[in-house]
Symmetry: C2
Subunit: 234 residues, 2 copies
DNA sequence: GCAAAAGTGTTTTTCTTACACCCATGG
DNA sequence: CCATGGGTGTAAGAAAAACACTTTTGC
């Protein structure tokens, strides 16, 4: 039964790039390590894959431990396994990015970890190759979000069109014509208008919308516009 | 120095989804296992990550061992680590897809492995979760190729426009208007016309082209058309 | 000379972009 | 009553799609 006895084993870790959007800027959640090695330095939240769990499971566990959140959108976004990436022995790390709405992030158990949100434009130096992980996660996020409407995962249930627009502006570091953006989005049938208005950010107030989950599920699987009338599931 | 002594180690494998295009159909390269466990069954080519190599390194090594090819386009496309995915103990496997031109595939060391190309439409049942790996690789290939011109990696140095068109048709399972496709491609400046013609596939003959590697390198990093005038590197 | 694939020209339609202008409202 | 962001209308321009038609050549 033990066919692979002679094969080498490695320590397998997961690290989470946790993206959050507060309405103004795109941010990542970092922790100040309270444990060795590299105690006291800033890093991504991570952990080791346990014998009874899958890597995704480990990533979810780690995320929940830090934020208290479950059922969060996560996606693996890279394998970091250079033999010398950690000085303290061989660790292969699987990077996952998570998209959360920062407003849900109240019930944080941050007593245990010294966690802090940083804007993606300025954050402290990080240990190991965590900087590269963030870069990779950013690229993956941009690529994926160009085809699939995953950025909605960063917004609360009720959101306004100006909010989404500014989210896209943050992610791609561009300026959008909000008027055209709004129309394009409405034409996709992805969002449903609500009666309420958000009066926080303007005098006139912007209508709230919610996701049309049916269309969303459809589009999240087939948003490719490069090829004529083609959908992912064939 | 030994901070992680108490953490569990796992066997870490790589499995390669090797895509090839022969001008007619998109195929994958499978091997008939000549070793236990699951001896005699069809599977992806794989191997274990060694202490002195990165996972990408392991994937390249495995690919080279089977095909003799080096410097092949590869990309990780999924982490398969369900605790019960193998009956013979815990193995986490990292899936990589490779794109190769089947015509380069002559110097195969297939004595050691019983390898065979199968069309993506019909191939034998596979061990473990290799079927899911192929599904994932297909999805990733489609997503990536919708934004970046990676499908050229499947073609020989000299190729014709009808060849690329039929490749896209294979990958996305669609029919293209070859006339419009041709113009669109030429407009991108990605390819350079050669003097020669390929007379194999038609009486008139189709001109050969080669990649404009400069434009290629540029586009492979920024082919997103979803957002106005935006490039990946900011 | 005809069948078959390659490739060009042209029209139609659809999508993007730019921007003028109206709307609602808190101060 | 006006400054401010939210939102609609509209017209110009670009890109995609559809398709008629010409080119080349092996048989």
């Amino acid at each position: 039964m033990d066919f692979y006895k002679s094969e080498p084993k490695v320590l397998l870790a997961v690290d989470c790039i946790i993206f959050g959007f507060n309405g103004e800027s795109l941010e990542i959640l970092l922790i100040k390590r309270g444990f060795d090695p590299e105690r006291g330095k800033w890093s991504l939240m991570g952990g080791f894959v346990q014998p009874d769990e899958s890597p995704e499971g480990a990533a979810s566990r780690v995320l929940k431990k830090l934020t208290g959140l479950e059922n969060v959108y996560m996606e693996d976004c890279g394998i970091f396994g250079d033999p010398n990436r950690e000085r303290n022995g061989r660790v292969v790390s699987l990077a996952y990015f998570a998209l959360i709405d920062t407003h849900q992030y109240e019930h944080i158990i941050s007593d245990e970890y010294e966690a802090h949100w940083f804007p993606l434009t300025t954050y402290p130096e990080l240990i190991f190759d965590h900087q590269q992980m963030i870069d990779k996660a950013k690229r993956e996020l941009r690529t994926k979000a160009a085809l699939y409407p995953i950025l909605f995962e960063l917004l609360p249930e009720k959101f306004t069109i100006p909010q989404i627009a500014s989210l896209y502006e943050c992610v791609y570091n561009i300026e959008l014509d909000k008027r055209n953006f709004s129309r394009k989005l409405l034409a996709s049938d992805l969002i449903i208008k609500l009666k309420e208005k958000d009066k926080e950010n303007s005098k006139k107030g912007a209508f709230f919308y919610r996701l049309n989950t049916e269309i969303y599920r459809e589009k999240i699987m087939s948003f490719l516009r490069y090829l004529p009338g083609w959908s992912m599931d064939e």
